[in-house]
Amino acid sequence: MRGVTAGYYSHDLVLNNVSLNARPGKVTVLLGPNGSGKSTALRVLYGLLRPRSGQILLDGREITTVPPQRRLALGMALLPQGRSVFPELTVQENLEIGGWLLGRDRRRLAAALEAVYARYPLLKEWRQKQAGSLSGGQQRLVEIGRMMVADPRVILIDEPSVGLAPVIVDQVYEEIARLKEEQRTILLVDQNVRAAVALADYIYTLEYGRNNLEGERGAFEDRLEALIKSWLRF
């Protein structure tokens, strides 16, 4: 993401000349106070919001105008903030939708589902339930599972741990660590600063829609606290 300026309405900007770079095979974390534009940045990256200026590059290729439904085919995936399950489909069907791109190939789809079930055995238990009847945390897990069906290379994650029980939270972060080991590129937005920083290779912070600090985790950790204090002034 390079020099992106974006906003929802003509009269105000949510992102002002923001640049982010998610390094391949690394975990990049994006931090910032509430309303600083983190989720918006992810939306722009995924094509859900068209930037007013600036570019989005994937492996050096410009993809600024590629619509979101084509991003998955490029190997990107997004886990959005808030609730996004398909409430009236069963858990199994939700996952199948996650494998939409494999749709033609029934066997690959089945294999992908099995892989996800293997990773999250809980999902298997619920497979015949309507996703909408699950509890809040259960739904979050379904969303994570759904994202993983497509086996993406570049993963954008917005607040993965909200609403999850500590056991599961641990698993989720372990999972992210594992994804990184699998050489996937991860861009993580999280208010669970502590956990996120622990995983991060590189950190960006946003403030009022502008780039603020950035740096390697090591270089960063000491400054973090002062920074968070400064966010309080809004």
């Binding site: 929802y8 859900l48 919001l49 997004l78 959005p80 808030g82 996004s84």
Partner: protein, 315 residues
């Protein structure tokens, strides 16, 4: 200031303009009245009532029956018609308002059909043959003016009411119901009661409108008085103007009624590319206008004016 000037102008117009315009404007006022009444529940609370004609028709028939069968004084029948429509709204609304979304819409639609069938089969309502209303003992011009001012006054009342509601906690709570009903109730909004109030208020006004309409047309029969067209027009006019704003009906109704009337009158008179337009062409033009309005002003004219902002993306 501007509002006072507009009201003054309308009041003066009643005696200045030619009679057919007096009639047309009366119809405009009546529909604004109906649309504002509809808007309280439909626009603010998002409960689309597709059976507004039920209350209108009940009002008309209450006036008709009381006046011709029981010799009640015409002026007295008008408030009674409002009361009767409110009673019907209470009977219908209390169960119906438990339903949401399309289920509510369809229920109100069926109920308007039901009332129509009932009125067609009752003796007291004159069945399919309808009721001839007594006419007022004035010359046609005075007659029209009386109705002009009656509808004008009621319309102003309804607009004022909507204006007040829109700025009150009552209004906010109605919008909250439209946006997300369960949390609204959990936050302490007595949703059923508020919806019922909104419905009853609208029904009363519609009933009064129906009664005046009955005296104005001097002949009521079930097909026309309970016509689905009225229900649909009220909804569309509010949509064109902009849902859930007090200005919506004030803009939407004249826009649609006057356009329709002008097109109807122009059709067949205007030469078009050398040949005359066939009279039915006005319908096509009217449809295209509707489509354009929807494309250019997806939230109605008021949406354009206010630039009401889109819903948040769901992700």
């Amino acid at each position: 200031m501007g509002a006072a000037a507009a009201v003054g102008l309308l009041a003066v117009l009643g005696v200045l303009i030619p009679l057919d315009w007096v009639t047309t404007l009366s119809a405009v006022f009546m529909y604004i009245l109906l649309a504002e009444s509809w808007n309280i529940l439909g626009g603010y609370a998002g409960y689309l009532n597709f059976g507004m004609v039920t209350f209108f028709g009940v009002g008309a028939y209450t006036a008709g029956v009381l006046c011709t069968q029981y010799n009640v004084h015409p002026l007295l029948t008008i408030p009674l018609a409002g009361v009767m429509a409110t009673v019907v709204a209470l009977l219908v609304g209390v169960p119906a308002l438990r339903l949401r979304g399309v289920y509510f819409a369809i229920l109100t639609l069926i109920i308007s059909f039901l009332t129509q069938v009932l009125v067609t089969n009752l003796d007291i309502t004159g069945g399919a043959s309808g009721i001839y209303m007594p006419s007022l003992p004035f010359d046609p011009f005075t007659n029209e003016q009386i109705f002009y001012y009656a509808f004008l006054g009621l319309m102003l009342l309804a607009v004022l009411l909507a204006f007040i509601i829109e700025r009150s906690r009552f209004g906010y709570a109605l919008v909250a119901i439209r946006e997300d009903e369960d949390p609204a109730e959990i936050l302490g909004v007595h949703t059923t009661w508020l919806k019922t109030q909104a419905l009853l208020l609208g029904a009363f006004l519609a009933g009064v409108a129906g009664a005046i309409y009955a005296f104005h047309t001097s002949y009521i029969e079930p097909q026309g008085t309970f016509s689905l067209d009225i229900s649909i027009d009220v909804v569309l006019m509010s949509l064109v103007g902009g849902l859930g704003t007090w200005q919506g009906p004030v803009i939407g109704v004249p826009l649609m009624l006057v356009t329709a009337q002008v097109l109807r009158i122009l059709a067949g008179e205007l030469p078009f590319l050398g040949s005359t337009i066939p009279p039915e062409f006005d319908r096509v033009v009217f449809g295209i206008i509707l489509i354009l309005v929807a494309l250019l002003a997806p939230y109605g004219v008021m949406g354009l004016v206010r630039r009401v902002r889109g819903r948040r993306l769901t992700v």
